[in-house]
Amino acid sequence: MMHRRLFLKILAGGFLASCAPGELASSPIKTNVLRPPGAIPEDLFASRCIRCGRCAESCPYRSIKILDLRHGFYAGTPVIYVEKVPCYLCMRCVKICPTGTLRKVSQKEVRMGLARVNRRLCVTWKGEGICRSCYNACPFREEAIKLDRLRPVVMPEVCVGCGLCTYACPVRPKAIVVEPIYAFRTSR
């Protein structure tokens, strides 16, 4: 045991220089950084996930990435960076998760987060032009994103938080982002 401890200590010392100490024990989930579909709440996620990485392996779009040791206790858990590759809701990962960390949910029951339109950044809301990239990209068009006089409005009851809208948004910084509001609900 001592050698692994010692080794880990040396390793940890190296990381502390490169990343904030608080990051080791705090969840990596934040705006546009989401858990895969069907994930159980964040307070149990890291303890139930066995880090087998099969969700990442089965993901045909390579949306799911595996965190590395720099994320401390959350190392090895899967995340989706929707700005890089969003989730296309193929629902393969939920079928193969061996521990039930990703629950078997249908496409419409997925709640990875909730899309939020920043009206100060959105071209259409500012009245500078007509863009409906997010509306076109949404897998539940006219249900999750509706147009209010051509301006996009998110329906929170329907939005699954897949991030396709964020990925499609041409504005920098993104005018529509996904907030993982469901990940931090306390479970049970």
Binding site: H3, I50, G53, S58, P98
Partner: protein, 293 residues
């Protein structure tokens, strides 16, 4: 010299089995990436062959203890490795584990380059084998205190598979790969240092395999106490003093291969709870059960 071709039988088969197991986790991500062949997925943390899931018992148990949540597919997936360990002992460690494959490959390279041989090798640091239990219990206690599974992302048997998957699919390595390198470096201090003293998965499988059916039997009458078995045993078990009956033995068959007198043989204990037939009774039944050598 007539016995010569019979030697190194188990060693050959074991290396073949280890190579096949390593190839499986190497080829699976390649097939997945280039041919969308998803029938076989994962590695030795969680392996999916069609609808059959195999979950590593240590990771599954840790996840179960920490999240206090029973999930049936996970329990069923743990059943196969547990049954294998129950009947055959730690065979996963010596016949399947990719870390074992890397160790044996390193040994082959050393034998080729530096004329390394287990009989002439001397372990630099020898500790008590009980350290394995400390590793297992300490691992569970620490994860339960912290509330996070520790072993899952530094578990070397799973790590090799994950590194291979990351390298093939994402074209990157995770930092944890250095743990594998560290383990291989420790191997140059003491043979199988990590497997002997530190591996919690090995500890769990050893615990499950305490009453295993498959064991290496020592025929004391044939034994000349040459001590070769103890030298070649990757775990340094004192085989000629009953080491192969201890829970640590992982049935690799190395001692059986090297034993010059043939005193060591694999045997399958029919039932653990039946008393062995005494010599007198077997003599009475069949005229001469123990022919003279």
């Amino acid at each position: 010299m007539s016995k010569r071709p019979k030697r190194l039988r188990y060693g050959r088969w074991r290396y073949l089995s280890l190579s096949a197991a390593f190839l499986l986790i190497l080829i699976t991500p390649l097939l997945n990436l280039y041919f969308h062949f998803t029938f076989i997925q994962g590695w030795y943390q969680s392996l999916g062959i069609g609808r059959l899931w195999i979950v590593s018992p240590l990771e599954g148990l840790e996840s179960l203890l920490i999240s206090k949540y029973l999930y049936l597919p996970s329990l069923i997936g743990m059943l196969i490795p547990i049954l294998v360990a129950f009947y055959l002992g730690r065979v996963f460690c010596s016949w399947v584990c990719p870390i074992s494959f890397l160790h044996e490959t390193v040994d082959k390279i050393r034998a080729w380059l530096f004329r390394y041989h287990p009989i002439t090798w001397r372990d630099r640091l020898v500790l008590s084998l009980r350290l394995l239990w400390v590793a297992l219990i300490g691992e569970f206690l620490l994860s339960m205190i912290l509330g996070f599974p520790i072993f899952v992302f530094v578990s070397p048997p799973g790590l090799v598979g994950r590194e291979l998957m990351l390298a093939i699919i994402f074209h990157s390595f995770a930092l944890e790969g250095f743990i594998v390198l560290a383990i291989l470096l420790l191997h140059f201090v003491t043979r199988r240092f990590y497997c002997r003293y530190l591996c919690p998965l090995g500890g769990l499988l050893a615990f499950l395999g305490q009453k295993r059916r498959l064991k290496v039997r020592l025929k004391s009458r044939k034994c000349s106490a040459c001590g070769i078995c103890e030298k070649v045993c990757p775990l340094g078990l004192p085989v000629n003093r009953g080491g192969s009956y201890s829970p640590y033995c992982w049935n690799c068959g190395e001692c059986v291969d090297y034993c010059p007198t043939g005193a060591l043989k694999f045997y399958w204990k029919r039932s653990y709870y039946l008393k062995p037939v005494s010599v007198e009774a077997s003599k009475a039944r069949s005229g001469n059960p123990l022919p003279d050598e």
